[in-house]
Symmetry: C2
Subunit: 406 residues, 2 copies
């Protein structure tokens, strides 16, 4: 029998107090449940005397977003904890530190980052993050290279693939990103105003071919250990610091999926800024900042991944094969662009949306943002097999935006 | 503590006798160890009274081919047994039936097929196998489709990927097929007469790029549960019957790898037939039979896989995406051609050779066969990303053969 049960705040405090030498003897602990309510309970435990604090994250055995009817394995808590520990080793300072993990309770106790804010909210507020491109490119290059066949023992990698098999969480992605938006599905969720655009997604055969190819990569291409859900809601940021959280979707998949998630969520904010920033010059400037950030994320990732390859590559043939690195990096770029498109589309017509667009109060503004996002998303998907430069993705965004205004 | 130890013939007989109701009470059992000596002990147990017989295959914890210095996990015996049972279900009549499996002893007891002969030997003798293309295409279409994301529950498939993670055996393939032949390696094994051709393999940058791409697919592309070693030495055949044996290399990999193995070994025999059949008309005729068999294997596999797709596809997007099936099948063809090339090359310069060529007694004949095989192999590798028809592979063979004679 498992000892698992969802914790209440008092139990969370007791577990925190028992944690070896974290809080002082005289700690006055208080707890607040701060989970966003989808898949986990999150307790913020604070000692009002010393000011020390930590986070306790407990998986629940179902997805709350659709009630208790969508069961989810608690195994994902183990996967998240293992992924955090590995990412902390490979990209120190860019993920919260794990203090302990309790398998029975599916509970991870970790560093409190509440001096940071969720980057999605920051971007909505018009905050710029000058360190973000540098940090996220380091996070991705380090965690993806050193878990791939290029950067680690290839037999150990196979055991790591095994350890991160994650069917329940992958199914969420497979359904919500790579299936529902292109079909009539009860999981879909969009406003009647964009019914024509949603219908166009369901009937575009050329688009379905590209999505099928990207879906197949997600299903079969065990390139590296992905974060698996690397949107701006999984990033805690300040202008000086970046922390990547919540890798419960971690599994071995195509590297471009993580890069695409970052690009997609910068572009979702871009689409929403048609509303949030009323002054045209300011809006232009912030949008230019977002596009520059995308350029920088790719350029820095590309440079760092190549540098790791040149210094730490373990695959003899990958060294001697002329042009292989260029070929490999271009496919990562193409995958990133295609996956970015898929991730944008699903945030408009699929089950789960983003605040950058959904919280726009004015219906006409919201619709304009949704249509712009869909135009950008489908353009990127259609670009995925031919792209040779990140500028082509940027051009697609600029073209879609010009069209928005006309 | 494990009860594992390598069995002797007396112990093998005792285990066979204890097998539930297989042999009659009054059986007079005799045993003969018939393993080819690489990775396993194989006992052929016969009851001289009833004539009933069975095979007992026990994994040993090292590769004998290089002494005891190359340790191999006994886990491969479990993988082989599980793969045989699954293949028997998916392609009934085309693999030996498993009677029992003993995990402690890494021992599989199975159907005796000694009324069949190893197809490689049959082909060397000039025997034609009119059912082979039909049977092997059924075996591949059934086992590969129904273990892929197209033909089985996609979450169950992930658990199956996990269960068939096979690092030790994959490493053999990765080293011997996708690395050593293109580098100076103590694993390589070829005659001084073809040093120039071996050197050309090591210095051909364009070839290395293609091999690197194919190697990456072998490392990362978890498309379906492969046999993993589907050469003509893994096929027991009569003109009326085909049985596929020895799936200890089974793992989730690219579908084209199995198809390529079949093509490669038909072509290795083709190259050797310059010696084995002295009469030119007869040789021409047998070689034409081999090329027709390759055409047929691909055409029948292609037709059967598409038929399964059209009837049993579980992936909604794979249905609605216009042109996806054609795109998918063309990549399988390209992969099959590329992997075939890699598998030919390694049998000439790598560690492990084939009797079709190695047993040619005349040095000049042998060298001619080796050079022909290398020309065919490198042509196929270089063709891998552009092929759109199996005829292009056949043309490459015909061109190489014309060159042989000039």
């Amino acid at each position: 029998m498992s000892a698992y049960h969802p914790l209440n705040e008092q139990e969370a405090i007791e577990i925190a107090r028992a944690l070896d030498s974290f809080f002082p003897e005289d700690a006055q602990l208080s707890s607040r449940e701060i989970g966003d309510g989808n898949l986990n309970l999150v307790f913020h435990i604070t000692d009002t005397v010393s000011g020390k604090s930590l986070i306790m994250k407990q998986a629940v055995p179902y997805a709350k977003v659709v009630g208790e009817s969508w069961p989810l394995s608690l195994e994902r808590a183990r996967i998240e904890s293992d992924a955090l520990i590995l990412q902390h080793k490979l990209a120190p300072g860019l993920v919260p530190q794990v203090y302990s993990y309790d398998a029975d309770l599916a509970l991870t106790i970790m560093e409190d980052l509440s001096d940071h804010i969720i980057m999605r909210q920051g971007l909505i507020n018009g905050v710029r993050y000058p360190k973000f491109a540098e940090d996220i490119s380091t996070f991705m290059a380090q965690t993806l290279f050193f878990t791939s066949d290029l950067g680690m023992n290839q037999q150990d990698k196979k055991l790591q693939v095994k350890s991160f098999v994650n069917p329940d969480l992958c199914k969420i992605t497979e359904d919500l990103i790579f299936d529902d938006p292109y079909a009539v599905s009860s999981n879909n969720n969009y406003e009647p105003a964009i019914e024509d655009a949603a219908e166009a997604l369901r009937t575009n055969g050329a688009l379905h071919l590209e999505v099928a190819i990207l879906r197949e990569k997600f299903l079969t291409n065990a390139q590296a250990l992905l974060h698996g859900d690397l949107h701006t809601g999984s990033v805690f940021a300040t202008p000086e610091s970046t922390k990547v959280i919540d890798p419960e979707f971690a599994y071995y998949g195509p590297i471009g999926f993580d890069i695409g998630a970052v690009i997609a969520n910068l572009l979702l904010n871009y689409a929403g800024q048609g509303h949030w920033i009323k002054d045209e010059a300011e809006r232009e400037s912030f949008r230019a900042y977002l596009l520059d950030t995308i350029r920088e994320v790719w350029a820095k990732f590309d440079a760092k991944f190549r540098a790791l390859w040149n210094e730490h590559n373990v695959d003899r043939l990958a060294k001697s094969a002329a042009g292989y690195q260029d070929y490999y990096m271009n496919r990562l770029l193409q995958d990133a662009i295609g996956f970015a498109g898929c991730k944008i589309v699903r945030r408009i017509v699929g089950l789960s949306h983003v605040a950058d667009i959904d919280r726009i109060p004015d219906a006409a503004d919201r619709e304009q943002a949704q249509r712009l996002a869909l135009t950008i998303g489908t353009s990127l998907i259609l670009l995925n097999r031919s792209a040779v430069s990140i500028e082509q993705a940027i051009d697609a965004v600029v073209t879609a935006t010009a069209h928005e205004r006309s």
